[in-house]
Amino acid sequence: MSDSNKQIDEIASQMKMANDGLSEQDKAYFCDTRPHAVEPYKGILEKFANWARSQSLWILGFGTGCGAIELRPLMTSRYDMYRYGIQPRPTPRQACVFVIGGYASVKTAKRIVRSYEQMQGPKFVLGLGSCTVNGGMYWDSYNTINRLDHYIPVDVYITGCMPRPEALLAGFNTLKGMIREGKAEGMNKYIENFDWYKANQKKIIKDWNMPDYNW
C-alpha cells in the first residue's frame, strides 16, 4: 500500500499545472482583493432601476453543463426569449444573469467563480436542475460540486433534469419578480460573506491559479 502511495505522490509531482513556468508574480491572477458592497438607491429611483434591470436580462453565454442544451431552443424561434428582454451576451462583463446549467465540475467551478466575479453588479444566478441543489445524479462523483450556493450566491433554482425551456422561462419570470421587489441582492450577499465563499472555493479548487494569459 505504501508503495502505491509513493507512486501516487510521484505521479502527482509529475503532473503539470496549467500555469507552470510562470513567475510567482504572474501566478496570482486570482482576484483576492475584497470588493465593496454597493447599497441600492432609495425609493422610486431604485424601483425604476429594478424595473429596467428586470426587463433587460443579459445571460452570460457560458454553457457550464448539460443545461446549456435547453438554452439553445430558448434563444431560437420556438421560445424566442428575446421578446421577454432576455438575450445572451458573449462576455461576462456585459452579462447580468449567469445560468448554471446543472452540475459543475471542479474545473468548471473555477471558471464559474471567475466569470461570476467578472460580471458587473447587480448580477443574478439561476441554478438549473437537481445538480445545483444537492449534487443531482453526480452526488457521489469526485469531480462535481454538490451545492452551488456554497460557492456563489444563487437567486433562483429551477428543478428538472433537464428543465424544459418553459420552466426556464418561468424561472426568469420569478427572477424578474424578485428583481422588481429588490430581493435579488446576491451580489451584496457574496461581498458580505466573501470570506466564507472564498474558503469554500479554495477547499475544492486546489489549482488556484488562473491560466497563463499574457495580456
Binding site: Q7, S141, Y142, K206
Partner: protein, 182 residues
C-alpha cells in the same frame, strides 16, 4: 470467423499469444505479454490491416494486482475489431508508448496516466493534466479510490436527510418487545 482463427495461428508463431476469445464475427480479444504488445500491434497494423485505433483503455484488476490494458483495433477490410489485451503490474505501472503509431495514442496515454497512474515514458505531454485540474489524490479510476467517500469529504452534501429502513421501522412499530427480538 475462420479468417481470424487462421490469422491467430499465424500470429502465434511469432508472438506468445494467449486467451484468444472469439466473441463474434466482428469481435475478438487476444492476450499478449506486455513486452511484445507494441510489436504485435505494429504487426497487425502494418501487415494485417488493423489500421484504426478504436480506443485504448485499462481495467484495474485490483485482486490480481494488475492493470489490463485493452487496445481495440479495427480492420476496415474485414470489418473486424480486435481487442489486444495485456496485463501490467499495478505497482510502478509503466508501458511502452504507441504515440508513434497513432498520434491520438498520446491522448489516450495522457488520460491513462491521469486516471490510472500508468506511465508511458516518451509519450508527448503525458504528464500534463487532461481532464482533471489540481488533482492531488489517488488517480480516480483506480479501484481502491472511493469516489463516494471523497465526494462526501470534499463537497458539501446538503444536510437534513433522514431515511428509515422498512424492516427496522416496522419492527419498532409492530413488535418492539424484547421477547420477539432474535
Amino acid at each position: 470467423m475462420n479468417i481470424i482463427e487462421d490469422k491467430f495461428s499465424v500470429w502465434q508463431k511469432r508472438f506468445s499469444l494467449s486467451g484468444f476469445e472469439n466473441k463474434s464475427s466482428e469481435l475478438a480479444f487476444v492476450q499478449v505479454p506486455a513486452d511484445q504488445t507494441v510489436a504485435f500491434i505494429t504487426t497487425v497494423r502494418d501487415l494485417d490491416g488493423y489500421k484504426h485505433l478504436v480506443f485504448f483503455t485499462a481495467v484495474d484488476l485490483l485482486e490480481d494486482g494488475v492493470f489490463r490494458l485493452t487496445y481495440m483495433l479495427h480492420n476496415y477490410t474485414t470489418k473486424h475489431d480486435l481487442g489486444i489485451q495485456t496485463d501490467i503490474s499495478r505497482d510502478s505501472a509503466s508501458m511502452e508508448s504507441i504515440h508513434h503509431l497513432w498520434p491520438h495514442g498520446a491522448t489516450y496515454q495522457r488520460e491513462l496516466k491521469e486516471m490510472f497512474g500508468i506511465d508511458f515514458p516518451g509519450s508527448p505531454g503525458v504528464n500534463e493534466s487532461f481532464v482533471l485540474e489540481g488533482w492531488f489524490a489517488m488517480p480516480p479510476m483506480r479501484r481502491d479510490f472511493d469516489t463516494k467517500e471523497y465526494s462526501e469529504a470534499t463537497f458539501f452534501p446538503r444536510p437534513g436527510r433522514k431515511t428509515f429502513d422498512t424492516q427496522e421501522y416496522m419492527k419498532e412499530q409492530l413488535y418492539p418487545s424484547e421477547a420477539e427480538t432474535w
